[in-house]
């Protein structure tokens, strides 16, 4: 026996990226704009979706709900009469802490792509792994909440850099917290200069109109690209 060195030079996540491209071309063909929606657990992703999905005039929304276990979030959204597909990473994917392109691929046949314009893929709550795995999205949006600390952008730069929009949630709690909002916004800008941010409270509804308008503009923008 002898040893041979084999040159490889391949991005280790190439396999995932290839499947993500296949997903994206399926979504593009159906004219569906796709958001990969990410945050830490409990930041308010589902509530922020509940606030807007049934109220986007002319934009039909579908949700792909990723969770390790259970369908609590999917049930909440389904009660708003939007199509929701549940994807659990536990039984078939070994309890993964994120969605990858292959998991989303497995859900594509179940998605009513002809009946929706905007698909929100709600990722598993986690600030680390979801940032590494493209799933076929057009854009990425994340939620950070003011109960999480001002230093999060510096600790999880991959996630903050990957997103086009950062929703800063739970601002109704600011009077009760020792939280420096300017510091958080400064840190976000350090890690991802000029990234768009919207201050919101899913509870009081503050900022929700701006979040809704952002989604409307996105659906129009991507739709225009697809048509052109």
């Amino acid at each position: 026996m002898h040893r041979t060195k084999v040159k490889v030079v391949e991005e280790a996540l190439d396999a995932n990226n290839t499947i993500a491209r296949a997903n994206r071309s399926d979504f593009d063909r159906a004219g569906v704009t796709v958001i990969n929606f990410m945050s830490a657990p409990g930041a308010g992703k589902t509530t922020l979706l509940e606030r807007v999905v049934a109220d986007l005039p002319g934009v039909r929304v579908g949700v792909l709900e990723g969770d390790v276990q259970g369908s609590m979030d999917a049930d909440r959204l389904a009660s708003l009469h939007v199509p929701v597909i549940q994807l659990n990473t536990d039984p078939s994917f070994g309890g993964e802490c994120h969605l990858d392109a292959n998991m989303v691929r497995s859900a594509v046949p179940a998605l009513p792509l002809d009946d929706i314009d905007l698909l929100v893929i709600e990722n598993v709550g986690n600030l680390v792994c979801p940032a590494e795995f493209k799933v076929g999205e057009d854009t990425r949006v994340m939620v950070t909440s003011v109960t999480e600390g001002e230093d999060k952008p510096l600790k999880y730069p991959l996630m903050f850099r990957a997103c086009e929009l950062v929703l800063v949630n739970k601002i109704d709690l600011l009077p009760h917290l020792e939280f420096d909002l300017d510091r958080l916004l400064y840190n976000i800008d350090q890690v991802h200069p000029d990234v768009e941010t919207i201050l919101v409270s899913a509870r009081t509804g503050e900022g929700i109109d701006t979040w809704r308008e952002w989604l409307m503009a996105l659906a129009t923008r991507e739709g225009a690209i697809a048509a052109g």
């Binding site: 026996m1 002898h2 040893r3 041979t4 060195k5 084999v6 040159k7 490889v8 030079v9 391949e10 991005e11 280790a12 996540l13 190439d14 396999a15 995932n16 993964e96 802490c97 994120h98 990858d100 680390v128 792994c129 590494e132 795995f133 952008p153 510096l154 730069p157 991959l158 850099r161 800008d189 350090q190 890690v191 991802h192 200069p193 000029d194």
Partner: protein
């Protein structure tokens, strides 16, 4: 914690290139911005590699320092903390010159000796 997912990606990539040969060494190029902890990757790799041609293989690391480049003013700088604004012009049109890599650079595999005369 993402090292578990990343180690699976490494094993899948290596298995594809090993073509059934037993793998002894896997050389990786990893950029600082990927926030990979080599010890943690070693730990998960040992586990994920079981029952594959990578079982018992050793990981070697080339860590690539993070460098950024401001597109308008061409300033280039290294970063210790994640600050992505140009220190010279304050601009935000900044690209990563290096430090984003997560590549399998090469592998060392065992070949059976060629018995046929040359």
């Amino acid at each position: 914690m993402h090292e578990l997912s990343l180690s699976s990606a490494v094993v899948n990539t290596v298995v594809k290139h090993a073509k059934g040969r037993r793998v002894e060494v896997v050389s990786l190029r990893i950029g600082r911005l990927r926030q990979v902890v080599p010890d943690t990757l070693d730990f998960y790799f040992d586990f994920v590699a079981r029952d594959t041609v990578c079982d018992g293989a050793r990981l070697e690391y080339e860590i690539i320092e993070a460098r950024l480049r401001c597109k308008p003013c061409a300033q280039e700088w290294g970063i210790e903390i994640p600050a992505f604004r140009c220190p010279t012009c304050g601009g935000s049109d900044v690209e990563v010159a290096s430090g984003d890599e997560f590549e399998v650079e090469s592998i060392e595999v065992e070949e059976a000796e060629c018995i046929a005369p040359r």
